[in-house]
């Protein structure tokens, strides 16, 4: 039997039972559509997460001074003074590093005329605002010269502005940080809270040397933030920094690091990984409905084989071989799942578009997910169509012909 003839036969048989064929197809349509829609929602979420992480800066690393253990003795906080401005400068020379921002922190009571406010005092360099991509809304950043000679200048975060100045203009005013008078030369844009809930705007920024010399009387630094050329560079640079700082701090093989490196790219990777798992999960759950659709096909094909036993007998008497009968029923199942797959793609695309429009969820239909859903539907057709088709083809002609 030729292929076009077999296909025509299958189509005609299905056409004779239009309602049944449509209902059977519906199972596959729902299955394919839900796979496509679910994967689209998952992929959308994945991309939004990736976008957000990118905004957070996946190309940034933070080095913090840590505690140190020497020969089993944990020497405590006093020994974490090993991180220095020179370290920061050395790190800046590493390949893949774009900018480096060392910092130290103090906390102090800040006063302006009648009001006062306890806040964090960050000692930073001008690069800090670049590294953190934190723009100013007014004024300007202090200069390298002011860093070099521990200038009495400061920039305010939005929370501090609100608490100390209310609606007044802070630029050009002087405040007292502890007992240190400082002139306000800039105001930072609102940055919001960190992912773990601390208010980044509740801070005052002064030259790093000002905190070191005038507020705390130290020479070390506590923290280096840096940006790299990209996510790949972050991982590589992270290793380079470890090697470099261990050398500079002359740590033996037995000694733990006296610093810790926090890699945002690592966090991004974890989040993206879980988003990917999430997509797979949604897709798999939807696949179950496709499987159920396949069982629907098998069910209806089994009924059909039983109903048409006599037809099978007649066909065999007229010269149909076992394989002709097998193909006839397998093709019927394949046509059902194929048409279901195609309509499912349309419904899935429509559904994804509707979700995107009405729920504000980001939705992204990817060609591979459409292709995979369709192929899976076809596979389901073959898998669940094969059993009824084999059953039909293995009938003995005389038994099929005599069947009542």
């Amino acid at each position: 039997m030729s292929w076009p003839a077999a296909l025509a036969l299958a189509m005609r048989a299905l056409w004779r039972n239009k309602t049944r064929a449509m209902l059977t197809t519906l199972g596959v349509i729902i299955g394919v559509a839900s796979v496509i829609a679910m994967v689209a929602i998952g992929t959308g979420a994945q991309q939004r997460i990736a976008q957000q992480l990118e905004n957070m800066g996946t190309n940034s690393l933070v080095i913090r001074a840590g505690t140190v253990t020497r020969g089993g003795v944990r020497t405590g906080a006093g020994t974490t003074t090993s991180l220095t401005l020179d370290d920061a400068m050395a790190v800046a020379e590493l390949p893949g590093v774009l900018a480096v921002a060392p910092s130290v922190q103090a906390s102090a009571q800040v006063r302006y005329r009648g009001s006062n406010w306890g806040t964090a005092i960050q000692g930073v360099t001008p690069e800090y605002f670049k590294v953190r991509s934190w723009p100013l809304v007014a004024g300007e950043v202090f200069s390298q010269a002011q860093v070099a000679n521990a200038g009495h200048v400061c920039l305010l975060g939005q929370t501090v502005v609100r608490e100390l100045f209310g609606l007044l203009e802070p630029i050009g005013e002087s405040i007292l940080i502890g007992s240190l008078p400082c002139r306000i030369i800039g105001v930072l844009a609102e940055k919001g809270a960190t992912a773990w809930g601390s208010d980044q705007d509740d801070a005052i920024f002064v030259p790093i040397s000002t905190v070191q010399r005038k507020l705390r009387g130290i020479t070390y630094i506590e923290r280096i933030e840096l940006t790299t050329t990209g996510r790949e560079a972050s991982f590589r640079t992270s290793k380079d920094i470890t090697k470099l700082l261990r050398e500079r701090h002359q740590l033996g093989d037995e000694t733990d690091d006296d610093f810790r490196i926090y890699n945002r790219a690592e966090l991004a990777q974890t989040s993206e990984e879980s988003a990917r798992v999430f997509t797979w999960l949604l897709g798999s759950i939807a696949s179950v409905s496709l499987l159920v659709g396949g069982i629907g096909i098998m069910n209806i094909m089994l009924v059909s084989v039983t109903e048409r036993t006599r037809e099978i007998g007649i066909r065999m008497a007229l010269g149909a071989r076992a394989r002709d009968i097998l193909w006839q029923f397998l093709l019927e199942a394949l046509v059902l799942s194929g048409i279901g797959g195609l309509l499912g793609i349309l419904v899935g695309l429509g559904g994804a578009t509707a979700v995107a429009r009405f729920s504000q969820l980001p939705v992204e239909v990817t060609p591979p997910s459409v292709l995979i859903a369709f192929l899976f539907a076809a596979l389901v057709g073959v898998f669940f169509g094969l059993h009824p088709a084999r059953k039909a083809s293995r009938l003995r002609p005389i038994d099929a012909l005599r069947y009542e």
Partner: protein, 227 residues
Amino acid sequence: MAAPLIEICDLKKVYALDGVQIQALRGIDLRVDEGELLAIMGPSGSGKSTLMHILGCLDAADSGSYRLRGEDIGRVSSDALARLRNREIGFVFQSFNLLPRTSALENVETPLIYAGVGKAERRERAREALQRLGLEERLHHLPSQLSGGQQQRVAIARALVSRPSILLADEPTGNLDTATSDEILSLLDNLNRSTGLTIILITHEPEVAQHAGRTLYVRDGRLEAHP
């Protein structure tokens, strides 16, 4: 003398019905020459239908040999049997056995589909076959829209369309009234005379058997020359 079309030796068939062994055929010897119109008679349950199914390669015997054009049917594959049913044998059944909800034309086309004949030629040959049987007005009618006699004529057209060497007719008039029966029987008669088609007619009505050149009787699974 030319080799016979059908040569059967000591054919036996037993089957179990509700756990009881029934000896349907107890040793049949039969030879049919090309161009014969043979009637096989017998009461129901005598085994004549079983014989017909074996002759038509729809069923296999338990023992004995069946040669069709010299080929040993017991030794060929199921695909080869399908091919024989397709090319060598045409069936006409008591209950017509037309494909339901399928037009007369498509019914007649069906054997040609399995013979691998192309669509245009299929259509043409099916149309011709139906025309020869006076059904040119009924090409697109469904079996349910045809009378019993018309249905049987569609079935005969379908049996003839693949130009077989034998027509097996199992009680072809069993479901028809007398007038229509006569019509169908003279049709078969004419076919045998004009084209030399070998016809084996199975029946339990003596009037039907009168049309045959030779009549054999099945009794208790054996063939006899006299009633």
